[in-house]
């Protein structure tokens, strides 16, 4: 009789212990879930901040900027010949030199045209843009060299992590 009572108590305590452990596991999983979604959100914010910061300096980076090759429009001036050459320089994109998901230039005025410099295969991207001068050297019918500049939009995308 005493033996049976003790057995019952062991069973009761074992069930209690399993219930308490399960409760803590569930609470832990819940907290972890919230934390992970927060982490992904933070990662997205950091990615976005990073792409915005890169956008602001990309037009002036040596791979894009006009430098002193043109006589006007130094700030936020993108060299069209350079970006066309850059499109074929796979070294920059194999190692994702700028750490972004896409770089694109959209000509706005006078003609509308888009030049995709780089695009990775990520599904979801968030674009930020900045207006720039897009300049190139041209030669007129008399053989004189002149600068031709157009208004364009420089777009930089960051990767979006799914939450």
């Amino acid at each position: 009789m005493v033996n049976k009572k003790a057995q019952l108590k062991i069973q009761q305590m074992a069930f209690m212990l399993i219930a308490v452990t399960l409760f803590f596991i569930l609470v832990g999983l819940f907290v972890l879930g919230i934390k992970l979604s927060g982490l992904k959100k933070q990662a997205n914010i950091l990615e976005d901040e990073s792409s915005l910061a890169i956008l602001s300096k990309l037009a002036n980076s040596p791979e894009f900027s006009c430098g002193e090759a043109f006589y006007s429009g130094k700030t936020n001036c993108v060299d069209e010949a350079k970006i066309l050459a850059l499109k074929n320089k796979k070294e920059y994109f194999e190692e994702n030199f700028w750490g972004v998901a896409a770089i694109e230039i959209k000509k706005i005025y006078p003609e509308k045209k888009s030049i995709v410099i780089y695009e990775d295969n990520s599904q979801s991207k968030k674009y930020n843009s900045n207006f720039v001068n897009l300049c190139k050297k041209q030669v007129d019918s008399d053989g004189n060299v002149y600068d031709k500049c157009e208004i364009a939009e420089l777009l930089v995308a960051s990767k979006e992590n799914e939450i």
Partner: protein
Amino acid sequence: MSFKKKGFQVSFSWLFAIIAGIFILFLAIYISVKVISNQSYEVDTTTAKEIEILLNPLETGFEEKSSTTMTTATDTRIYNHCYTFGNFGEQGLQVAQKSFGKWSDAGAEIKFQNKYIFSNEIIEGKNFYLFSQKFEYPFKVADLIILLSPEKEYCFLNAPEKVLDDSEVFPKNVKLIDCSSDAVRVCFDSGSNCDIKVNMFSETVEKNEEKLYFSDELLYAAIFSDEEIYECQVKRLMKRASELSELYLKKAVLVKQDGCDSNVDGELTQFADLTEDFESSENFRILERFMIELKDKNDLSICRLW
């Protein structure tokens, strides 16, 4: 004679509850410690990423030089890592912060390719000084970032005119007069008890019995960074110069198709090869001549490439 045995009797349920309680308590403490250490790892990693983002506006664009300060919430240790593999090499940053008087383990390493940070391998403090400078060789290659700890004071002795002109943008811990006795003494061309010797004529910086060669704009980078970091970053800069030379070669072809010949193809090809084979800062002595030649030829061209 009889002995009365008096025992302390604990019921089974009490014993079981105590054991289970101890188990649960230890589990809770273990999980809390793990969560706290994970959290500090997360904060350190986020801080490293934030530092990387903060460095972006520092890249000067058209400004020659600029300086600013960066303040962290607690005492922070920044580990500067540099790697030379691949087409551009890599810049790594790791951060550890002090909490409850103890340094945490460093967070995950944040790596990026488009920045060049010159500093000691470990920099410690709360307010960091950042000094950025454009590097042209002969075209713009990158913006250099020099990261200084506030805990170290530098004293420039017999500084030449060129250095004096930059004094306005020097961080607060770089002094030309009223130096403290424990400041790092940087002597230009002459001086006694020097920790760092700079020879402006032969373009060398001597420290810790090692000689670093610099090219004009790399002077401050050579003074303020560890030898290994300097050599590694300079090699990375030359790798980028090589890639940029190839980019300009491609541009030259495109511009030529439009009827505008830049005429620098030969020099540019040679320069691309030389910068690709760059081994150490000593190579600047050979490269300098080719660089000047290339610069002069581009400056005279009607269709300048840069």
